[in-house]
Amino acid sequence: MKRKSAQLDSLSNSASAAVVVDLPSLSGTKVGSNASTVAAGGGPGYEPLDSDVILPSVLPFKRSQLLDRYPKGHSRGRHWKHLKQIIQAENYQLYPADEPTYVSIEAPPSMYPAKKYCDITGFEAPYTDPRTKLRYANADIFKRIRSLPDEFIQGYLALRNAAVIIK
């Protein structure tokens, strides 16, 4: 089997893999496995690294291999634009107004005032503690809030995105 032989190669060469990496990568000729893709979810009978788990770094059906496209140690091409940057670069303002875009299908803010719930229990909360800014449902929970360490207060506030962020 073609695949199996490739694996054997990869296993026997794993010791020299570090050397292979430093060589200029040649498309499709490299055998040493350095970024072998291993499939997850091995059943109880699986011995990892056995022939079915490790994939050769060279997949025969690929035109260019992952390692060649993203060589080790080269940071170029590894910086990915985040969604925000992608959207900014899209220049949606130049699009016709009636064309739906990623930004235009965003939901509008709610028309109704947000209901207030107790930060600890989730019950409806008529009160807000002026000191911690936590919402609470009754006096017992107020007592609990007052005895909470600051870390937890911030944790509860962060749940509804209201934590004080000190930069």
């Binding site: 997850a40 035109r63 091409g77």
Partner: protein, 735 residues
Amino acid sequence: MADTSIRPLRQRDYHLVPRRTPLVIDNGAFHCRIGWAGEDSPRFEFRNVVNKPRHRASGEIVSVVGDFDPSLVKTFDFTRAAMRTPFDGNVVYQYETMESILDYAFERMGIEGDNKIDHPVLMTECPCNPVYCRGKMAELLFEAYDIPSVAFGIDAVFGYLHNKNQGLCEPDGVVVCSGHMATHVIPMVNGEPVLEAAVRTPIGGYHVTDYLKRLLSLQYPFHVNNIGWEKVEELKQEHCYIASDYHSELEIFERGSPEADEKTKVWQLPWVPPPPEKEPATEEEIARKAAIREKQGQRLREMAAAKRSTKIADLETEVIGLEQLLQNLEDAGDEDIDALLAESGYLSREEIQGALAKATVSLRKLKGEAVLPEPEKVDDSTEKDKYPLLDVPNSLLTVDQLKEKKRQRFLKMTSEGRARAKLKRQEEGLEKEREKQLEEERRLANPEQYLEELRTRHGELSARAEQRKRKRQKNGAIPVVAGQPATGTLVLGGRGERLTAMQKERMRLLTTAAFDRGKEEDTFGMRDEDWQLYKRMGKDGEDDEDAEEDDAELVRLEARLQEIDSTFQPTPGLAQGMQKTNVEVQAPKPLTAEDYRISLGVERFRCPEIVLQPSMVGVDQVGVGELVGASFRRMPENLHELVVKGTILLTGGNTLFSGLDARLAAELKASRPLDSTIRVVKAADPLLDAWRGASRFAASGAFRRFAFSKQEYEERGQDWLRKHKLVYSNLSPFS
């Protein structure tokens, strides 16, 4: 259906797959599903993540695609690896990670090929995917795999089409698709999406799980390690539901009715009970143990007796020898004494006598006879004898004698001091005895009055103690609230308000002492009054000594009152400090299984509720209920009616919560005219319908019309790609 918990096996039937059969990939933010066009189900699905653990043996970093598998921990070091997802929100942005995932997917599909995959690809994407992302994905597929052509479609629409074909919904309607990262509402007219009226809110299954995880971590800080993402996801899928009426559901729990207890689920964490208490030993056991102990004691006693008898014998011979020696000395003439002494090793007759006395004493002791008290003898000797040098003037003494004199003076002083202290103690004891007698006499003379006196005195003292306590608390001694350590910063304000006037004065003195130096010539310590400063500084806490005395008196009074007055109740908490020292520190309560229990009550419906009320997690966009209305409002006038009357289809993994359909119908009813009909339908299979719809589409002739090749893409460019849009509905149901 593919089971995600087991690693999919490599498909073995690739040679049976016809040439150029399209590959269908439902590339969701949570799961990726892949299979062949025209088939009923995807071949397998896996979590759309890549892990990069280190191989323990070789140190290589490898990529593991799919769910985290605990069995791999043996071989790989996951400690520094974080799960990587190619998604930011619901949009693919990391194409290197995406490539690893596709590598894995294609390899598992058993695809063989010579530097190319000769199958067109139909891949799903989010509605209105940015062109940059669509282009990047197309480039990835063309350049890495050299696929002949590709087309992109919207997962929610494919899901709707599939359910339409199943007869669950009409060509006109609305699809509500709640996925891992976002929820979309897309109106459908005649089987086509109206993207102009589509809306998206950034709440999905991920956010529900995350909310639940963070809530539980805050509520059970001791079990944070057990609250992993995977476990919480499992809990969510098993126990969370959407309340039909959120507020009445909350009230059930707020009242604490039995119904709430029924609805509360408990997750028992692994817990090992402490070893059971040892049963009290039986009498036989006790007797057996006692016998063993007795036996051992007997042996020890025998050994000690043997030792003693040998010692007695030794001492007796010594005494006899010494007596003999003394006798010999008596008998011998002056000239023989020296020889005899030299022979015996003693220097003088006195020394021999001393040794003899010592030996006799220890012999007596050993034999258990009464020993004459030694110190008496010492007392007998006059001071003159003991301290002969003290009266001799210094001028007559040698250096050594001077030293000796010093030593003697010291010894004399200490022994005198000891005697004085002893006398004083005796006197105090007598005084106390006398007082006690006096009190007893008073009590006997007039018991009522005596009791009254005691009570008033007790009242006074306890009032004073109470006052002191209050003062201390007000001044900032931190009260301990119900076992929870209250942090100073929380309970109290700044430093200033925690200090009493006395303490403030002390602080002032300390600071002036620290910073006053160096101004002019330092004359501190020249006058004796200067040193008073330290006295004032040192006194921290004003009347602590007083307090201690009072407390002692209070305890004494309470004891006395308890003794003579059966009705007396000691005030709890008073003189607490005194009692605390006597009571042993209570051992911490042993942890029970209950301490290792995580209960899900309100959380069961509180967490999924964020889909309907995103404001609960600080997102100000509308929830699903309003989302449908918002979508309707965006519809063109002429199509509005069609959609409003149509079915509302729920699809996507995040719509699996029970009760969501009923709740959504109720919410919509509230916002629509009275007699309007609202049909909310759950998708046949919210997870796989999108793939199935896509599979059907890819098998139809329409796919070939819309799929584009690398050459076409390069010729037409990004602007054209922006307008790439499938026409979904002109597939005949029997293609």
